[in-house]
Symmetry: C2
Subunit: 313 residues, 2 copies
């Protein structure tokens, strides 16, 4: 291939081709384009107020650290806003401990305060202990991912509330979002499409509103951003990773995107329209507080407490 | 494998295992189960009235001939109902001519009248001629399938109206429907999900209402029905067949169904719920009559007339 010039600055050599826009970009313009896209996404969905305290969910992986870097940069323009990193220590030896160290390093470098909450302190078990329990009891109908997903979500909300955050930002990318959309259709879980939007509704005073500033950026590009910015991140996969169906969907979508570039954006937009229709047609589920832990839930006992009972029974 | 007994009659040897229900079925009970499923689907969606004149769209392939056999059987129970087969001759040498002969044979055997309408008589061109024209003019942005789909749809409506049909039954299976649902999501064509339901709305006096009595039956089983009933059908693929994206989706869905049996039903039900939400939230597009041919359309000039102009320009 000939070395091509950057379509934006027209001065530096391009290193990345963006198939769905036709742009060829140099490192500098690429990084700026990602930052601008995040600003545009925040504006489009009204994700942030000028004086928000923003908790960024940081796992130590490439996406969440890229997000922390970008939101840290954006926050500098808003003197009344503040930013804080929050992490969940599920208790996965040889994996999360390493990731948390990397997360802490990044926070220090960026001078962003960092708070960690652990499964052990709020649930009494590490994920390692939960998995061991599941195995010895032969209760294997739910995967570790199913447990971890529910428990992590609750933990993130608790830590975000503890640090007085107005918004909880997660690094879900366009890929995560489109996979989840198809997953929900394949599971018949249509209401979840309505619920999982780029900025969640204000539904309960104890539920911190979640925002996804990367929801319109392909994972390939959030990863590339981390490389370009020389961000140190953990790239080991989780030892319990077992989402077989999601993985099949990921492979399918990547294949589709390769053949028909832009198809992930189209799916994302389709879901936006389905969401709109569902919103207009359906009643919202009212949130109450879990009778056991007091956290917001649609049921009497929240899913996390139910799972822990199941484990102990 | 041990030879197993049929789960229904418990007398004859099973020859088919239905993964999503766990049933093992003999030939006789299998065929009856398909016929019963068609009756149940017709009842569920209120597809037919006791005195309907039903046009069955027959291509000469396995699905449409299975449907003709089953609807012919059901119609016998309704003295005021009548049934007629309609076919479209697109003009594909060595393919459709053969299929139409087979369709005619089946109709004769079943004593069902058979009407054929051709692209040549209503549009002035056979599909072969259209494809040749597209090639020589280098107008290859649309595939033959894209042309054929639009023109066939219009032709079917014209012939159904000509034979005074109240309903036009097509043999779209669960597989066709779930492929179309994903295709529409990947194309961002959400309104089409709302429109393409098991029984279309009464939207214009010149548009015959379409019904899909096979919409909840996997293609595997409509095919098997044709074999069990020793129905003669054409099984050559169309020489112009080129729906690459649909084919990728088909492969993906079959893979998913193999791993998670019943997933196609779940997708179908997801679409029903999306449809419901869209119906409640959105205004219906009003149908007018095409300024050129007088057929119902949402635009000034119908898509078929637009395509023919494009071809002649």
């Amino acid at each position: 291939m000939d070395t091509a010039m950057c379509s934006l600055c027209k001065r530096r050599e391009a290193f990345f081709f963006r198939p769905y826009s036709g742009e060829k970009l140099c490192r500098k313009c690429f990084a700026r384009s990602i930052e601008n896209k995040v600003r545009a996404t925040i504006a489009k969905y009204g994700m942030l107020e000028y004086n928000d305290r923003i908790a960024v969910a940081v796992s130590g992986g490439k996406d969440s650290l890229s997000l922390l870097h970008i939101l840290g940069k954006i926050e500098e323009d808003y003197p009344k806003a503040s930013i804080v990193a929050v992490s969940v220590d599920e208790g996965i030896e040889g994996y999360r401990d390493e990731a948390l160290k990397i997360a802490a390093e990044n926070c220090e470098k960026l001078s962003i305060e960092h708070h960690v909450i652990s499964f052990k302190e709020i649930y009494g078990y590490t994920l390692d202990e939960i998995v061991k329990r599941l195995k010895t009891r032969g209760k294997s109908d739910l995967t570790p991912c199913a447990y971890c997903g529910v428990l992590r979500r609750k933990a993130l909300n608790i830590i975000a509330r503890k640090v007085n955050a107005d918004k909880l930002a997660t690094a879900h990318t366009l890929d995560d979002e489109t996979q989840t959309i198809l997953l929900n259709i394949l599971h018949g879980d249509i209401l979840r499409i309505a619920r999982e939007k780029p900025k969640t509704d204000e539904s309960h005073p104890k539920l911190v509103r979640r925002i996804k500033p990367f929801c319109e950026i392909p994972e390939k590009e959030t990863t590339l951003y981390a490389y370009v910015k020389k961000i140190r991140f953990q790239d080991k996969p989780c030892p319990y990773s077992s989402e077989a169906l999601r993985n099949d969907i990921r492979v399918f979508l990547n294949r589709m995107e390769q053949k028909h570039s832009g198809v992930k954006f189209t799916i994302f937009n389709s879901a936006e329209r389905i969401r709109q229709a569902l919103k207009e047609s359906s009643e919202k589920e009212a949130l109450k507080e879990c009778l056991e832990c007091g956290e917001p839930t649609t049921q009497e006992i929240c899913k996390a407490c139910q799972m822990l009972h199941e484990l102990e029974s």
